[in-house]
Symmetry: C2
Subunit: 89 residues, 2 copies
Amino acid sequence: MSLLSLLLGEKKKTATVAKERLQIILAHERSGRGGTQPDYLPALQRELLAVISKYVRIDSNDLKVHFERQENLEVLEVKIELPEPGPAR
Amino acid sequence: MSLLSLLLGEKKKTATVAKERLQIILAHERSGRGGTQPDYLPALQRELLAVISKYVRIDSNDLKVHFERQENLEVLEVKIELPEPGPAR
């Protein structure tokens, strides 16, 4: 299954109302067992959201963050529901 | 299938050598048919990579960018192979 079909499938399940959504996924695969490298995903996530908020208005109520770790793979998923594009002012 | 199992599956297929990898996926779902909103994913991608390069050294040869659009969903995927963590200096 390709990533696009997975996301499309997810979309169809949740998409009761067609909304503008942005999803950011960070997958970090470590090479060694419990590598000694510090875990930078949390800090990276904050900075990425700061960059994204320059492009779209992010309301913290519309933000869902999910973190999972399995074997040497860490996946950070941020889902943002975007406000409806207002009428052109 | 969850996102984590998809990424783990992908990892097992490609992971001949355990390398440090970072994968960033941006999925943008537009609400309307061909929304009038400008397409900000390319610019957003450049800025996200600039942020990430503050955390890890990115060599453009180790960077793979893949973009797909289907229905009202656009998926931008950036795969970065990270240099092996050097010996502690």
